[in-house]
Symmetry: C2
Subunit: 382 residues, 2 copies
């Protein structure tokens, strides 16, 4: 019944999204996360809307269960505390612009010499190396520069941003993987390592088919609206009361779909294989919609599910939060306040593991410097 | 100079995208990945376009450096080989529909009893539990049901799909993290564990601000086109030759932006704070564009970068692949053919680590059953 990272200590200098997302994942896996914030304002996201009782829901969602100490790394007394924390930490996470940590005297060489088992994990806009290493970035900048915006949106219209902040979040996830891989190796004597993840690199790493398409055909794909560019039918369709999706990814599923819709396309060369269906995707969509428009989404989702065809609703966030499958998987948890009462909702832990309890609540996010006394006692207590 | 997972053996029953993406990441971190495919056709994606010299670029991008053996897990002789592989493996990865592995006699209880150190990692559409556990899913289904489509696209128009297959890829990334966390714990005696990741759960886990917004305000956000719903200015703008992005995430950056654009908004209450700017985002966009439309994207990107304001181009995939920063980070690698010549391009490893070489090439993706002899010799050789 132990969480896999119980006992590991993560010292977290990061702020805003990519770094805090990474350390939230590690906290959900059982690590102790100590957030080191700048005195005064702390993490920028403490001031991000929306608020409830004066507290940021955004900050709470990303920082629940962490503890906080405010340190000015230019002050000697605070540096002494930070050094003590480093001597107890397994990992230091940071998302300053490259060069900032070095100027504070905590560059990789200095840290590795003083704490040879410490893992230093940095996430930045463009990475620790390369011509643009020191440029500032936000999610929007890497979604745009990294190409995902160019393949998201409707053909012939302006590109759109992916609604979730995947510029930050995917980078935070790769940072977690790098940290965990370094811990695996350290356990067999590999020592401390430096992990360097860039938000821009991370965008490239999730492009999957788009790189293959571009390099083989010589032509970059554009946006393809609500459909997959390489599979058909694999898009949204109108029912009598709105849109839903059908994803028939191979010939068997397409045959099942045609039977369920009573659509006589058997033997029609235009739809006989996936490449043919992709070529005739617009016509195929019209033929399918001529049938689906006759009944409701619920009717078709039930019917196609019974036929074994992947399908589903396009849910708004309020609907997702009430989805019975999401509920059954404990994927919406309560972040508690100081009095143990539910204060905010947050996403649960998507990594379910045997012999690990999957709690339905999370401890509060910390007040700025709210755990100073407790952290100092822990340091001095041995 | 050792990769962190060198020496670890991953047995990979998975196919298509989420599972193979996970094991590709582990291979890039140094693990030996043995792909166990069904005889005859093997992984579905061997038949996915685009092709070059009869080989799928899609398959190559996800399976480079893995070895392949074709086994029919209903045949005794092949089961014997599979059992031998299990006895040498650290991790078994699978993405069958829940229940399939049990019916083959390789359910978690049986595996854990026979191989107590083995980690079983499963990724599925909806997870191993819950009312919809056995439903089929594809990327499109979980992008729709999980809510990300409802916040992606233009206000007042139909929702669009995220151009990258984040329904699969994000789940594959959480599976990697679960595997690595289980390996960390196993190294200190934690034994084998079962990791259960669902594509739908994983979509919820990346929603970040959308859950906070919905639960605090009681209202689900809709799509917001090319702009962030909680920050302004943080969107696309027209220059004289096309669109580019500006992301001024706080007051200091907004001030720098106004100076660089010579835009006299100082002291204007409508733009004095981020909440005020969000409220007046449409007006603010018009005021900024009245200036940016006068010069090219290159002009503004250079000028704003010099001023320290996060900005950048919206690049198409061909532009991304030639981006000097992406090149400097070794983020586009050559997948070689059998003769050691470059055959395909693929994304590099976004997890850069000290004392680990970051090769500029990848070994070929395997032929179906192409490593049978070598794998059997390895099994029998000790």
């Amino acid at each position: 019944m132990t969480a896999p990272l119980a006992g590991y200590v993560i010292l977290d200098l990061s702020h805003v999204l990519a770094g805090p997302y990474c350390t939230m994942t590690l906290a959900d896996l059982g690590a102790k996360v100590i957030k080191v914030e700048r005195p005064g304002l702390g993490d920028d996201t403490r001031a991000f809307p929306p608020f409830k009782d004066g507290k940021s829901a955004y900050f709470a969602a990303l920082n629940h269960g962490k503890s906080s100490i405010a340190l000015d790394l230019k002050e000697d007394a605070d540096r002494t505390i930070f050094d003590e924390l480093l001597s107890r930490a397994d990992v230091l996470v940071e998302n300053f612009r490259p060069g900032v940590l070095e100027r504070l005297g905590y560059g990789w060489e200095a840290l590795h010499a003083a704490f040879p088992e410490l893992i230093l994990a940095a996430v930045s806009g463009f990475g620790q190396t390369g011509p643009d290493a020191k440029r500032p970035a936000y999610d929007m900048v890497v979604q745009a520069r990294g190409g995902v915006m160019s393949i998201t949106g409707e053909t012939g219209r302006e590109p759109v941003r992916v609604g979730a902040s995947i510029g930050d979040i995917v980078a935070g996830m790769f940072l977690s993987q790098g940290i965990l891989a370094a811990l695996v190796d350290r356990a067999r004597g590999g020592g401390g390592r430096r992990v360097d993840v860039s938000m821009l690199d991370s965008q490239l790493a999730i492009l999957e088919h788009a790189i293959a398409l571009t390099t083989v055909t010589g032509k970059a794909p554009g946006p393809s609206g609500a459909r997959h560019p390489l599979i058909a039918p694999f898009e949204t369709f109108h029912a009598s009361d709105g849109l839903f999706v059908i994803a028939a990814g191979n010939d068997t599923l397409f045959e099942k779909l045609c039977i369920a819709l009573a659509l006589p396309l058997d033997g029609d060369d235009r739809f006989a294989s996936n490449p043919a269906r992709v070529q005739n995707a617009r016509l195929l969509k019209r033929l399918i919609e001529a049938v689906t428009i006759e009944h409701t989404r619920a009717h078709w989702i039930a019917k196609l599910t019974a036929a074994g065809v992947p399908t589903g609703a396009i849910q708004t966030i309020d609907q997702v939060l009430k989805d019975p499958q999401i509920q059954a998987r404990n994927m919406v948890v309560d972040v508690l306040d100081r009095n143990g009462r539910p204060a905010f909702k947050a996403a649960g832990n998507p990594i379910k593991m045997s012999d690990v309890t999957d709690p339905t609540t999370r401890p509060p996010a910390p007040e700025l410097d709210g755990n100073r006394g407790e952290i100092l006692r822990w340091l001095r207590g041995g």
